[in-house]
Symmetry: C2
Subunit: 444 residues, 2 copies
């Protein structure tokens, strides 16, 4: 059997590796436009900030490493066409067009940065960051700049803004919506991070879009906002989200939805012997019971495990998603899972919430840090969301809450749960328990 995988990101490469772990015979060929495979795009901001010394550090494996496992990687190669009847792809490598047959085709085409409708995005000094080469280019360019503006205050936007600050640039972070991380945090939680970023010297411009980028000598110079405000910056990063890359999927005729390719729980598309994983597919939301988009590296990796089992004839199922996320920006770690209050409202789910400020260790233990926890329940007390901010120990608490939501626990159920305690690492009553106890009171 011959498997052709289009895309060398987390979804594509993990599919290749996982198939190989399960089967030594299957022929596996991966095509990617990129100059690298097997790197962590999530790590790019930390290389820009010099926390990680070099871009080479975040490349885990080379095409040669994969060759040893009998996985063929084609770098800098564009797949230009797929003939689903002939089961054949057309690709261009070094300006030469070739064809290759497949038995099973995997679309792991990922996403393309969304560029908002504004004038001047083609000026020099305007960047999108998606690949490792994008990261290198941005870092080089930034070395000769004194100021930068980042538009789009999702996780990547915030991480890049902070990285520029670490490089010594004067930084402005903009968001069309009136808060940062609007997809994952409620405004009362995002305020805490906004305050921290401002205390670190990052200027925030929230609640209005940029309408135009103005330049001088073809170089970007000024961002103009909807209300006429102008902010000068020598470079501008567009981190305004990613849209599923669907050119090939559409060419093949794979069914697509609002956000991406429609796939079964086994990662099959609507077209026989064509599968898809990663940023280009839609996932099923565990809470909304409807399709959503889950453009996370972890989602791609988990989908790839399921797909490898599907392709090798094993049983497997990709579960509904909750889109849990976490990051660390400077001193502050923050994470979230499930629905925000606003998102619940938009989906006609009545929510009951409570927010507590607790500590990461026993009160008397040195270096106990404040921990803010917000819990969101539905009208029956079932937990549907959680947001946490602290200087440490956020990620794993998000995981506990992910499991609690997955299992359908109510705030009351969780308030009775056992949590491990020792003064150096926790409070005798865990911050999560304090939060669910508080929200429980609203149900009596």
């Amino acid at each position: 059997m011959k498997v052709v995988i289009i895309g060398g990101g987390a979804g594509g490469i993990s599919t290749a590796s996982n198939i190989r772990k399960l089967d030594e015979e299957i022929e596996i060929t991966v095509f990617t436009r990129d100059r690298y495979v097997s790197y962590s795009p999530c790590a790019i901001p930390y290389v820009i900030s010099n926390t990680i010394p070099s871009f080479e550090d975040i490349v885990m494996r080379s095409p040669e490493d994969y060759a040893k496992k009998n996985i063929e990687i084609n770098l800098e190669t564009e797949v230009t066409a797929v003939d689903k009847d002939k089961k054949e792809i057309t690709y261009v490598k070094d300006n030469v067009e070739k064809k290759m047959k497949y038995d099973k085709l995997v679309l792991a085409t990922g996403g393309s940065p969304f560029v908002p409708p504004m004038k001047g995005v083609d000026l020099e000094g305007v960047f999108k960051i998606r690949t490792l080469d994008d990261g290198k280019e941005v870092k080089e360019y930034a070395k000769n700049c004194k100021s930068a503006l980042v538009t789009g205050a999702g996780l990547i936007g915030i991480e890049i803004a902070y990285a520029f600050k670490e490089m010594g640039l004067e930084v402005t972070l903009c968001e069309m919506l009136p808060q940062i991380v609007p997809r994952s945090l409620d405004p009362d939680m995002s305020r805490i991070i906004e305050g921290y970023l401002e205390s670190e010297g990052i200027r925030l411009m929230l609640g209005q879009p940029i309408t135009e980028l103005k330049g001088e000598d073809e170089k970007v110079k000024t961002a103009v906002f909807d209300d006429g405000t102008e902010v000068d910056a020598e470079m501008i990063i567009l981190s305004t989200g990613v849209r599923a890359e669907l050119t090939l999927a559409n060419m093949i005729g794979c069914e697509t939805g609002r956000w991406g390719i429609i796939v079964s729980e086994q990662m099959e598309t609507s077209v026989e012997d064509v599968y898809a994983v990663g940023d280009c597919v839609e996932s099923f939301s565990a809470i909304l019971k409807a399709n959503t988009i889950s453009q996370l590296g972890t989602t791609a990796v988990r989908q790839a495990k399921t797909l490898a089992k599907t392709i090798t004839g094993r049983k497997s199922k990709f579960n509904p998603v909750l889109n849990s996320m976490v990051t660390k920006v400077g001193r502050l770690e923050f994470g979230a899972v499930g629905l925000t209050t606003i998102f619940a409202q938009q989906n006609n789910i009545k929510s009951v919430t409570e927010k507590v400020e607790a500590l990461t260790r026993a009160r008397y233990y040195p270096n106990a840090k404040p921990m803010n926890v917000k819990v969101i329940c539905d009208a029956d007390g079932k937990i549907i969301g959680c947001q946490i901010i602290a200087e440490e120990r956020v990620a794993e608490r998000i995981d506990t809450m992910t499991l609690a939501i997955t299992e359908g626990l109510t705030c009351y159920d969780l308030s009775n749960m056992e949590f491990a305690y020792a003064p150096p690492v926790s409070m005798v009553t865990d911050p999560l328990v304090l939060a669910v106890e508080e929200v429980s009171k609203k149900f009596h």
Copy 2:
């Protein structure tokens, strides 16, 4: 209504506070032999090690603070008798015997240190550590010593041994069983901590009991082991466990089991209007489906919440326990939940286990630390135990596993779960997932 609480530890004091939160009228009187209430005994080793500056720091509230909430605290008072028919207790304070009527009586009598059968335990320089005053006495005495021996390598024993090392003493840590933390860790996991303690200069003596303590001028000088080995030490700490204090419970005629007072899920004893919480009661094991003992501060606090609801006429239920635990000793954090392999075997549960070594952050991220995870499943793949060792981020992973066990998840279920990821705080595939994936392979 008048509630009398015997015992001022976590169970007694939390019962008092929780009743008051629910009801402003009930009269509440607490009796304790101790000179302090509302302190954290778990923190004593960290004061001895000077991590926490003083013993006063770990006292959270004074009797005056409780008086403001209309809770009467009687320090240094011994309750000598209970007449359950007259609903009256007899107590001695300042050498004066008095009586007090009650409507509801709470036994929160805790535990007494178990002293193993050996000669010489009454010599000067031999200590048990249970109360804050014990901690003060030990720290003062240690200041004039050059060497110490700690017998009993449970959590407290290890913490105290490490604290002495921090004070500059030459330390020997002994355990009758052939490994440290035998109740919570498998030998392959305890070896890791044993290696660390030895690298820190603590001498370990495992696998044989001390039979005698020999002295000179009434002061302890030498511990003699079963095989004749002699180890000199200027002071000796007996940290060989705690037994439920049952004198009053027996006097009243409360039903007791192998380890302590038998209570209902509402914390009622077998005697009407007599309740019990904390180290003196038995708990129901979630895995063994039989009574067990759970002498943890967190258990006492959770039982107290249930009892306060029972006493004020609300519905509540104390759930079965898993005895999750965590501590931090020097650089190393370790925790466990559920059954060890040996304990499973002793209870005729066939277990399937796997141990992985992963990292606490992405491989390329600075300061990623090794994390050892061991997962224990039953013959059906259901998770029944987990043990984790790392320099950071252990406690919350134990909590996630506690929830997984409580919900009856199999290793396969958990391997499909979503975990939050960012390079500074986790691996793209969480160490817990790596562990359950490995153990899952044994079921195919």
